[in-house]
């Protein structure tokens, strides 16, 4: 009888899990993850030295928070700080989470990949985006054993036991402080989207990139992107006209480039070559 009841209970749990899985998938946000990186500012250090582990995600959408981002388990490391910054940019949103860590023991630490689950805006499928793992080497302090005979065996054992107790306490505190939101299992579910840390892009970076593309291939598509980047750099909203863009910037070199972009984009063919040169020169002058 008891076995039968247990069987029914297990079946109910299985059914609940089966129903819960698609519901969780439906709860995912649709995001276009353009860059995802994890980076340590120091990969070789000593016990007691502080280092930073930075996770950067750039999504195409304008979001105010990225709660889906799961940072790696920092294990026995002492967590000294955790700061998450969300910054809007013309090309989307940058989320940078910086963990300040202090190793409590020597050895080689591998931080598993940070990840986030979302519906990939490019494919429409649920996807786990992740960064590459980071490895940090922590040197143990040079051992300084007392000369033989200066300490009794009892004293040496007391030191060893005491050190063990202290280590256990430190590890326990660290685990308690991080329990709230750290992933507990290493994840290598998906190949990394971008392994390098991409710093937040500025409108100027975007203009520089699109100018480079336009220079190498001055086609209509690259012109549209360069003009869009210039408009964004001026602070104009998508779909703005030249007058809108000129209305929000007093930057004379940028205004000159905007005018040249308009002439190149909408001028007749016989003027296009000259205005294209003017656009490149004016944009380069603005970039400096």
């Amino acid at each position: 009888m008891a076995r039968a009841r247990r069987g029914v209970a297990l079946a109910l749990v299985a059914a609940a899990l089966a129903l819960g899985a698609p519901a969780a998938a439906q709860g995912l946000r649709t995001l276009q993850v353009d860059a995802f990186g994890m980076h340590a500012d120091r990969t070789h250090l000593r016990i007691g030295e502080v280092f930073h582990l930075a996770i950067h995600v750039h999504v195409h959408e304008r979001v105010t928070a990225l709660d889906e981002l799961v940072v790696p388990n920092v294990g026995t490391m002492q967590l000294e700080g955790d700061e998450r910054r969300v910054t809007g940019s013309p090309t989307g949103t940058d989320v940078v989470e910086t963990l300040t860590l202090e190793p409590a023991a020597g050895g080689t630490y591998t931080f598993n990949a940070a990840y986030l689950d979302a519906i990939d805006a490019r494919t429409g499928k649920p996807t786990r985006f992740s960064a590459e793992p980071v490895r940090v080497v922590v040197d143990s302090p040079v051992p300084s054993y007392p000369r033989p005979g200066t300490l009794s065996r009892f004293a040496r054992e007391t030191v060893v036991v005491g050190a063990g107790v202290v280590t256990v306490v430190i590890v326990g505190i660290a685990l308690y402080r991080m329990r709230r939101r750290r992933a507990t299992a290493p994840v290598f579910a998906a190949p990394p989207v971008a392994a390098r840390l991409v710093p937040p892009r500025t409108p100027r970076d975007e203009v520089a990139d699109t100018l480079r593309v336009y220079r190498s291939a001055p086609a209509n598509g690259s012109l549209v992107r360069l003009r869009g980047a210039l408009f964004a750099a001026a602070g104009a909203q998508p779909g703005a006209t030249l007058r809108d863009a000129l209305g929000v910037t007093r930057d004379l070199p940028l205004r000159t480039a905007l005018g040249a972009a308009e002439r190149t984009a909408f001028g007749p063919a016989y003027l296009r070559d000259a205005s294209s040169v003017e656009l490149i020169d004016a944009t380069q002058a603005w970039l400096g």
Partner: protein, 305 residues
Amino acid sequence: MSRPRDVLDALHATIVGQAEVVEALVLTLIAGGHVLLEGAPGVAKTLACRVLAAAVGGVFRRVQFTPDLLPSDIVGTRIFDQRSGEFATVLGPLFANVVLADEINRAPAKVQSALLEGMQEHRATIGLQTLDLPAPFLVLATMNPYDSDGTYPLPLAQLDRFLAKVVVAYPSLDEERAIVDRFGAGEPPLQTNAATLDDVLRWQRDARQVFVDAKLRDYAVDLVRATRGAELVAHGASPRAALALVALARARAYLEERPFAVPDDVRDLAPAVLRHRISYDDRIAIAGTDPEDVVRRIVASVRAP
């Protein structure tokens, strides 16, 4: 050789403010279309038309539309000459370069139709004779939106003949003070001959050569298509609206001495082209929505290239 800007300056020398109205008159002149001015009495609708006619020279005629007006009062008629014993053709006021149809909605449909046929065809039939109207030929019609008693609303098909409809607003405080200063001691003399009729014909030819990029053409078409099925709209604008929008964008570029049109031209002129080509459904009155807001929303909904 005069430039369109000379006519613009002549208009501004007399008309206080009303920059949109003044520009629309000159643009319509360049584009070879006709314009409908809607506004309360006394906001310089008629004066603007007279100043424009004086500035470009040519023959100016004004017709006050009333309920008892007949088509022959506009087009002309044939009169029997007792001395010669033959019928002679007497041309009506439609045979002028600039015709001011004052309060066009006060005449019945057959009179409106006679005028609008001349606007579209640039010719008029009197008896058995079909005569070309002079070139350039520009009709400026006015409407008062408030006194609707005894009026004959223009059907959508006839409104479509007007290239643009401009809403003439009340002047600002400073403008109204300037009006009192400028016109308080009588109407100042109008600036004449800022341009010639030949100049106008040349502008019309040259403006047709202004370059319009395919992206801009698509933008104009998208704006017109956005009127169809828009909220509170019963019937959207016809393809003629896209033609009008591109023609006016060319005229604006020509006025500003640009060899090509830009998105600002299309976006700025879209309300003037669309507002009289849209009919609204009954819910607009229930919702208490201003038709101008509907037009603004439609224009804002289409992303400029």
